[in-house]
């Protein structure tokens, strides 16, 4: 593609550097691939310039010439820079995809962009007037011209530029197709007029970017007037000043700004137009006038009548046929060039025909080559043009030489006419010589580059030449010299080689290679029209207009976003390539299928149903799939273990550790590798996730349906990306963590199934509602556990009697005091407990929970601990707080509790106290039943574990009298039975010593007393274990002394019921 300004700048410097990850790299990398989203487009641009000389009514004429193309006079100028009728289809057309929203050139070629430059919209001849304009902030002029243009162009065209600098005014409007593709409009005014900066002379310059890629430049300038050489110099200086001063805002594409402001010369296409004020040199004004008058009054006056009728002009226009061969006047002289827009030419012709040429002669009637006809208008123009200052200066490289082009001038000088006449040159005193003041120049990036290259080559050639001269080599002797250069003839300072004398037609021969584009390259601009509008008579200048067709590059937004997305992905990947990265495979996935973290979806571990206390393990295989070692760690999540505030409490149920991958596969000891591990590329290790709910409070919360068992673990790869692992489990409802009132409502089948059916019905978890029917007087779990404990205790005793290696642990708390349970390790017992809970929750007989080979001792410990767990789990205990408070209040009337250190000795008091307590509990019948049931069972178990043989009892009874004799405390006895009970119940720590001292009974007595003491010790210890579990109440409050007293009373209540009558 020829024109890719913004792009071409950086083509060579921008290398997609994937490894660098600066914020611009996406933009830069995408930019490097721009050819994938930039497509050739075509646009037609109409440029008009007019010095309106502050004449009234000029705005009324605007539409006619600028938009409608009227006012052309085929007689007095040609509209066709080339019209050999060649096909419109151009090579570029073949290459440009039709689907990439090309600019349609339908209906004679829709204009994509109208650009109008006016001069002298205000009369400003003195600085004071300029000041007036400044201070009046008069925008009525702008408003007037905007209105005039908007009225002329289609209503959906959008304003792009509206800028005024004193008399200079620049307006641009874009078609609805083009407007959205325009960005970076930057306009700058350069005043070069009076005092060097005021704006009555100068330029308004606008830079726009088309389709994110192509920079267009429009310069509307009014240069110094005047025929004298002094003014010529000023014009040259002013043009240079404009180039030097115009700076445009840095281009911003996709939010990324270029660093530098742009200037004239950075653009892809430039258009410089306006009243440049260049005159005809070395020709007396009157000669020019006379020469032209020949034509304006001339002999081919075939359309005189029509013209007159329409315009009622004084001048008598002459119809001149401008031949197609007039193209030798085109500075851009390429004989092979094909016109691009035949429809356009037709349109112009049609417009002209519609206008006023109904009776114009058929062009074929004219001599085929008026150029060769010395009498033709074109011949006359051609004879004048070599005297045109602008053309001369361009050749001399003094102004507009840096690649600027102009179309062939086939129209009369545009200045100066009497206002109101088609072709009457200034008839005033001054009789200003006619000249082509109003011009439209243009240039492509290629044009400028070509010029630069040429200058460089010339410079090099000159240097080489000088060197050779210095070495004394004769120029003629060496044919290698690239450039024939004669410094003698080059008196100029600038490196102009052999500038041809600008004589007529000379440029046709050697000027051609100076300016014409390389034929091998496609010319990206085509001048479709360059004409004056002779019949516009409201100003002393004729307006001049051009239509250009540009082939330019523009971003196709859809393609661009696609490339952008790709680049973003590639950058992402590239960035990840050098970074540590892992792949996670959850290969122990309960659902079987291996899950892989290839995508961005988080890894997922589902433990399935989780029951209380059971430990669930899931193993993730972590593989380092990157090229560098990866340091891994799980991000520690702040875990609160404060269980006080209900829902908010987060209880840790998930633990993680890293182990070698082999270890996780088998059951060998897995070595915890620590919190942070480093994994080499190509290696794996395992992350073991353990899920276990051990906390009763947590269990209670889960039973209530809050919270859910869901976590997101974050596995951090240092310097890599975090991996998120979602972990979940579903809670298996259990009897642990319920209330008595819930449990008695559980029907056959167990709590798990029942709670599930409730969850299904309500679609959420929760407590068992108290409005459901009651199925049993006390929780079945309690029946089952106590029953099993009782029978198992008997088995233990039996085993102990029969088996050598089985002895009943002597610890008085056994098997209820966990610390006293030593027959198995904690894990084994826990697994038994889990089995028991499973059985309870599923309403299965407890013995079935044990494998047959498990010894009774182990079973009893598990059962006892399950009972403890069950009681601890009861949300309100067996004696709820309210009831306990009532018991507490009744303490003064309950002697057994009033002094909890030792129970009263007499059975009657004890009985009485039991009745008092049970009476209070009576208000909560189910709790009452539970209490009695539990204490009776425990009492029996204690009795089993600390038996008193008949002999012991007899001995104790037999010794009662002597014991009593020595016991002051036992003085108040009732009947003999009561006395024994009283004595026995009164036995404390010191009693054995007392008995021994008493010395009255001998060995049997000691043994009996020892057995009794053991019984009492168990009663006490078991009561201690159960007191707090059974009786609730705010023991947390108060002083430690009060708390201890409360604990003692709880224990005493239990002891009161555990102590059974001796019989």
């Amino acid at each position: 593609m020829g024109s890719s300004g913004v792009l071409a700048d950086s083509t060579t410097t921008e290398v997609a550097d994937l490894s660098s990850a600066n914020p611009y790299s996406l933009h830069r990398t995408a930019h490097a691939r721009r050819s994938e989203y930039v497509r050739p487009h075509r646009i037609r641009i109409k440029v008009g310039t007019w010095n309106v000389a502050a004449c009234p009514g000029t705005d009324k004429d605007l539409a006619r010439w600028f938009v409608d193309g009227e006012g052309l006079d085929p007689a007095l100028g040609s509209s066709k820079p080339s019209d050999d009728g060649g096909p419109v289809e151009h090579e570029l057309h073949n290459g440009s995809p039709r689907d990439a929203s090309p600019i349609e050139l339908a209906d004679g070629g829709k204009i994509g962009l109208y650009v109008l430059g006016l001069q002298e919209v205000n009369v400003l001849t003195a600085p004071s007037q300029y000041m007036t304009w400044i201070y009046a902030a008069d925008d009525s002029t702008m408003g007037k011209w905007k209105a005039a243009l908007e009225a002329a162009i289609p209503p959906d065209y959008q304003l792009v530029v509206a800028e005024q600098l004193a008399g200079l005014l620049l307006l641009a409007y874009a078609s609805p197709e083009i407007a959205p593709t325009i960005s970076n409009v930057s306009t700058i005014s350069v005043g070069t007029g009076a005092l060097g900066y005021l704006g009555n002379k100068g330029a308004v310059c606008t830079r726009i970017v088309l389709g994110e890629v192509t920079q267009l430049l429009f310069v509307n300038s009014h240069l110094a007037s005047g025929v004298e050489d002094y003014y010529l110099e000023r014009r040259i200086n002013q043009a240079q000043q404009i180039v030097n001063q115009a700076r445009f805002e840095p281009i911003v594409i996709s939010g990324v700004s270029e660093e530098e402001k742009t200037k004239i010369g950075d653009e892809d296409f430039a258009f410089w137009f306006g009243d440049l004020n260049f005159r005809l040199d070395r020709l007396p004004g009157d000669d020019i006038r006379r020469l032209l008058m020949l034509h304006t009054r001339g002999e081919y006056d075939l359309s005189k009548r029509e013209l007159r009728r329409e315009n009622s002009l004084e001048g008598e226009p002459i119809v001149v046929r401008c031949s197609s061969d007039s193209s030798d006047e085109v500075m851009d002289r390429d004989p092979d060039r094909k016109p691009q827009n035949k429809p356009d030419d037709k349109a112009v012709e049609n417009q002209a025909a519609d206008d006023d040429s109904v009776n114009l002669p058929d062009p074929d009637d004219f001599p085929q080559d008026p150029q060769e006809d010395p009498a033709s208008l074109q011949a006359t123009l051609s004879s004048l043009l070599p005297h045109d200052q602008l053309r001369r200066l361009i050749k001399e490289r003094k102004v507009f030489h840096e690649g600027w082009r102009e179309g062939p001038i086939t129209f009369l000088p545009t200045y100066k006419y009497d206002v109101g006449t088609v072709a009457l040159f200034d008839s005033s005193e001054k009789r200003r010589p006619p000249s082509w003041c109003d011009r439209i120049l243009y240039r492509t990036r290629k044009d400028m580059e070509r010029y630069m290259t040429k200058v460089k080559e010339e410079e090099e050639a000159r240097k080489k030449d000088e060197e050779m001269k210095a070495r004394g080599i004769e120029e003629a002797a060496d044919d290698d010299i690239l450039f024939s250069y004669d410094p003698e003839n080059d008196s100029e300072e600038h490196p102009t080689p052999k500038v041809a004398e600008y004589d007529e037609y000379n440029e046709a021969e050697d000027g051609g290679d100076d300016q014409s584009p390389d034929q091998a390259d496609h010319d990206t601009i085509h001048l479709d029209l360059y004409t004056s509008h002779q019949r516009i008579t409201s100003s002393d200048h004729k307006p001049v207009s051009s239509i250009f067709t540009l082939d330019y590059d523009a971003v196709v937004p859809e393609l661009k976003s696609k490339v952008h997305a790709e680049v973003a992905r590639a950058l992402d990947r590239a960035e990840n390539e050098g970074r540590p990265g892992i792949t996670i495979v959850a290969d122990h996935h309960p659902r079987g299928a291996a899950w892989r973290s290839g995508s961005d979806a988080p890894a997922h571990v589902d433990f399935g149903e989780a029951v209380f206390l059971r430990k669930y393990t899931s193993t993730l295989t972590l593989a380092n799939t990157s090229g560098v070692p990866a340091k891994l760690s799980f991000i520690e999540k702040p875990m609160t273990n404060e269980l006080g505030d209900g829902d908010a409490a987060e209880i840790q149920w998930l633990t993680t550790c890293f182990v070698h991958s082999e270890a996780a596969d088998d059951d060998t000891e897995s070595v915890d590798l620590g919190k942070e591990v480093t994994l080499e590329p190509g290696e794996t290790l395992n992350a073991v996730l353990d899920a276990q709910i051990t906390d009763i409070v947590h269990a209670r919360m889960l039973n209530e349906g809050q919270p859910t068992l869901e976590e997101v673990l974050v596995l951090r790869v240092t310097d890599g990306r975090d991996h998120f692992i979602t972990v979940r489990a579903s809670w298996a409802p259990t009897c642990i963590g319920r209330s008595v009132d819930e449990l008695i409502r559980v029907p056959e089948g167990g709590i798990r199934a029942f709670a599930r059916s409730l969850i299904e019905a309500k679609a959420r978890a929760g407590a068992i509602p108290y409005d459901l029917p009651i199925h049993r007087p006390a929780p079945k779990e309690l029946f089952r556990l106590t029953e099993a404990i009782e029978t198992t205790t008997q088995r233990v005793i039996a085993d102990a009697q029969m088996l050598e290696d089985c002895t009943v642990p002597s610890d008085p708390g056994w098997p209820f005091d966990e610390a006293a349970c030593k027959s198995t390790d904690v894990d084994t017992r826990t697994s038994h407990i889990i089995s028991l809970l499973d059985a309870l929750d599923q309403d299965q007989a407890l013995p079935s929970a044990f494998a047959p080979e498990i010894p009774a001792l182990h079973r009893l410990e598990a059962l006892a601990q399950t009972l403890v767990l069950f009681l601890r789990g009861l949300t309100d205990g067996i004696v709820p707080t309210a009831l306990w408070n009532r018991i507490d209040q009744a303490v003064p009337s309950i002697p057994s509790l009033a002094n909890p250190a030792s129970l009263p000795a007499d059975e009657a008091t004890l009985d009485n106290d039991r009745t008092t307590v049970l009476d209070i509990l009576q208000s909560a019948p189910h709790h009452n039943i539970c209490f009695v049931f539990l204490t009776t069972t425990l009492a029996r178990v204690v009795a089993e574990l600390a038996p008193l043989s008949k002999a012991d009892l007899a001995t104790l009874r037999g010794n009662e009298a002597s014991l009593l004799a020595g016991t002051a405390a036992a003085a108040r006895g009732g009947g003999p039975g009561a006395a024994i009970g009283g004595v026995l119940s009164g036995v404390g720590r010191r009693s054995l010593g007392f008995v021994r001292k008493a010395g009255s009974g001998g060995t049997p007595v000691v043994a009996a007393w020892a057995a009794l003491e053991k019984r009492r010790a168990r009663e006490r210890r078991v009561s201690e274990v159960f007191g707090g579990l059974v009786c609730r109440g705010q023991s947390a409050g108060g002083t430690s002394g009060e708390r201890r007293a409360g604990e003692a009373r709880r224990r005493a209540v239990m002891e009161l019921f555990l102590r059974q009558k001796l019989e």
Binding site: T583, T621, L685
Partner: protein
């Protein structure tokens, strides 16, 4: 805790896939692991890792599959992935002669650098693109002849001869149709010596040297019936 699954011995086998880019390595793995195929797979970056179990009559093999990227820029990473590997799948594209050359390079490199005793399978993929590649059965379309319209560029004979010379397992597969894919992995699983399995996963994957040592010591040694490390669930 009672384990539910049958106590069939199970062991991990590290398997690496090597071969030129776009021959279908990732596609073979995808077919084996997920029984899926994607027409336009994104190229593998660095490496991919997947696992899949392979049930043999007497044991279960858990493949830890390392799928490498074929592009040259990743070639230097390959040794990290085939280190400690017990099996390798060297893949070429039946329709692309250069891919076999590349495959031979990989085989040579493995024989030189990888663990001794590594089981290598040479796999010619994209059989579906050839005349005989029906995918549903090898014997269909016998009459079709070999030449016209056939994208095959590497004859079975040529590759097979090479494989035999080098002592490689040899298969022609189609990841697209699934033809012969499971067979490759099963064959590899069967070819892994039991002795190598038992001690394959020593006390640490990073202790490659130590492991190799162990492997020698235990060569031909009786399988310890009490060894638990062979059993996974």
């Amino acid at each position: 805790m009672a384990d539910s699954s049958a106590p069939k011995p199970s062991s991990s086998v590290k398997l690496v896939l090597l071969g030129e880019a776009a021959v279908g390595k990732s596609s073979l793995v995808l077919r084996f692991v997920n029984n899926d195929f994607q027409e336009n797979k994104e190229p593998t970056i660095g490496a991919a890792f997947l696992t899949q179990k392979c049930n043999l009559p007497t044991r279960t093999i858990k493949f830890e599959i390392w799928d490498t990227a074929g592009q040259e820029r990743f070639a230097s990473l390959a040794p990290m992935y085939y280190r400690n590997a017990q099996a390798a799948l060297v893949v070429y594209d039946l329709t692309k002669p250069t891919s076999l050359i590349k495959a031979k390079h990989w085989v040579a490199e493995l024989q030189r650098q990888a663990s001794p005793g590594i089981v290598i399978a040479l796999v010619g993929n994209k059989l579906d693109l050839t005349e005989d590649g029906t995918g549903s059965g090898g014997d269909a379309e016998d009459a079709g002849g070999e030449d016209s319209g056939d994208a095959r560029k590497i004859s079975t004979e040529e590759a097979k001869t090479y494989a035999e010379e080098e002592g490689l397992l040899f298969f022609e597969t189609s990841a697209k149709t699934g033809f012969n894919v499971t067979e490759v992995f099963t064959a590899i699983a069967n070819a892994i010596p039991e002795t190598s399995l038992k001690t394959a996963r020593g006390p640490g994957a990073s202790h490659a040297a130590a492991r190799t040592e162990e492997q020698r010591v235990n060569l031909n040694g009786p399988r310890d019936p009490n060894a638990k490390e062979g059993c996974a669930c």
